[in-house]
Symmetry: C2
Subunit: 323 residues, 2 copies
DNA sequence: ACGATCTAGGTCAGGTCCTGTCCTAGATCG
DNA sequence: CGATCTAGGACAGGACCTGACCTAGATCGT
């Protein structure tokens, strides 16, 4: 024919897409849809299987083909709405790095945003704006758009230009070679080699503005320490104004760790129903809300700021209820 | 050769996977990786383009190929970690349906879970367990695993068997033909035709246990009303014990709507800095935490239960801070 | 128990189309 | 201006894909 391209490949992709719908497909129906003979469908199924995609078949009258879970991930074929849903989900997930898969999450986001059609991108943006940062005041939340750009540049080893606002408010323009994105606590940090200052720097991503990939690929530079994550946290603890929280909870240590989503080693068991929380936290408001919503009695020993905030919060709650 | 399958298709898939990495690939490097001649790579790129995937090429010394955003979604080729990240993201997104894409989100989750390799499924489960329901006490949160099963059965039009615990605590076993999953407020509901009772029923998904697809496909039944979502909400409001919240916030109506993530018509403007919230809410704890974390002064007029809860919360906060 | 309906797969002939080689043209960067 | 990319035409040989036909085995409903 004329525009045939590679009929077989296109058909295989379409077949994979059909089989990803969670239902059974009789061979004859697939043959109709793909406009080939049933024999060819069987051969296509074989091909997919040899490619590693486990196509399950059930025999008999109600039988048919379906794609099962296998050894490797097959290519995901998503319709528009599903793609948008995934993008939104990844964005919120990236905004709340509490998982242990933060980096993969941002990588997936970058991969998706790279190929996301513009019209869908718009829908993601509007939906993402509507989505609330669950922590309330949206100012501390991270812009996933920027994260995606940073992740993309990091993966591509592309030199990057952006505006940075330091802790003291001074604004500078930077040209860096991004090395790694690291999530620590509830924030993202970019470890990069600053070309102007000729040294390694750690940037808080929420202080980065207007990131522009230059398109220039640079050879990968060896990160300063053995571990990038360790380097970032070391840098941070040496300068960041974090609080050291000490509190006693009327809750078992394991349950507290699970419900608060903090690492288990931050909790010391006192008895079966009591434990002590001891760890760093940069935002008191966040921790206070989390502790209160637990529903169990607790006592805060340190820092004084957290005690003060709780008192203030209690006052606001009382005023709201009794006015 | 022996195991060749369809060399071309496999290569196209691999090429697509390579191009999804956010970087530029020179044709020669692609040729090496794919173990074909550069000419064939060019032809493969052409094929992908004719299949609808916009492969961008930049010329000159630093040139190369990369996949750009096009008209349609290309198949996403994910590595293990990325797949896990997406699954976790979708699960949390499905647990907090505040978006407007709840259904697509669950559909995507079902699609992904269908093909997720078992070892990755384990990782998703452990990570998902570690992920905190941001609302605190995990009892009200939805199990994404069950949601995925329900979504899968709904899409496949498969008859479904599960255990159901009614509001009064009585446990029954059901055999239904699932019709649609609907998110309302912070909960999921399953609209289904109950085969034993021969009528349509709405089930709260968090009261569903041990869902088992029977594997039996049934022809699609016409949903009762014009709109499934409308039917569900009508059913709910006629019986559910929801609260009618009335509160005054020291915040502009638009900002309040944005920060609280509630529909704009729930807020009535009083002046530039004040608005009145008026709407239904099924969980007081959730709303209380959201209002408090806003940081602005507010007054709760109704319901009395919310006022009582705020008083209790204030007491707990005070005790935690001053003991 | 039997027939209907599905998957599974072997064989064969015909023709499509895919591949590597060789070559020229155009774009871009230093 | 030269190096290094992409872009693409021409050609020969061979791989492989398709449809048609047929047989075997599994499963379900009557």
């Amino acid at each position: 024919m004329m525009d045939s391209v590679n009929t077989t490949s296109a058909r295989l992709l379409r077949l994979l897409s059909l089989l990803q719908t969670p239902r059974e497909w009789p061979g004859t129906e697939l043959a109709e849809r793909l406009e080939v003979s049933p024999r060819t469908v069987r051969r296509d199924v074989d091909r997919l299987r040899e490619l590693g995609y486990p196509v399950q078949a059930t025999m008999g009258t109600t039988g048919g083909y379906r794609l099962a879970a296998g050894k490797a991930m097959p290519p995901l074929l998503l319709d528009d709405e599903e793609a948008v849903a995934i993008a939104v989900g990844l964005r919120t997930a990236a905004s709340h790095p509490v998982d242990g898969i933060e980096e993969a999450s941002v990588r997936a986001l970058a991969k998706l945003e790279q190929v996301l059609p513009p019209r869908l991108r718009h829908r993601v943006n509007t939906l993402g704006a509507a989505t609330v940062s669950v922590l309330g005041n949206g100012e501390s939340s991270m812009d996933p758009e920027i994260l995606a750009v940073l992740a993309s540049a990091t993966a591509a080893q592309e030199r990057l230009r952006f505006a940075y606002e330091a802790a003291d408010g001074t604004r500078t323009r930077r040209l860096v070679e991004p090395c790694r994105l690291v999530a620590s606590g509830r924030r993202w940090y970019l470890l990069a080699y600053d070309n102007d200052r000729d040294d390694w720097r750690v940037f808080r991503t929420d202080r980065i503005g207007e990131p522009r990939p230059t398109g220039v690929r640079v050879p990968s530079r060896v990160p300063p320490g053995e571990d990038a994550a360790a380097f970032v946290t070391r840098k941070l603890y040496s300068s960041a104004p974090t609080y050291e929280v000490v509190a006693t909870l009327r809750l078992s240590a394991t349950e507290a760790s699970r419900k608060l989503g903090l690492p288990a080693d931050a909790f010391h068991r006192i008895d079966d129903r009591t434990c002590r929380l001891h760890g760093p936290s940069d935002t008191l408001e966040w921790l206070a809300a989390r502790l209160l919503v637990l529903g169990c009695p607790f006592e805060v020993h340190d820092p004084p700021e957290l005690r003060a905030y709780l008192v203030d919060l209690a006052a606001r709650a009382t005023r709201a209820a009794t006015s």
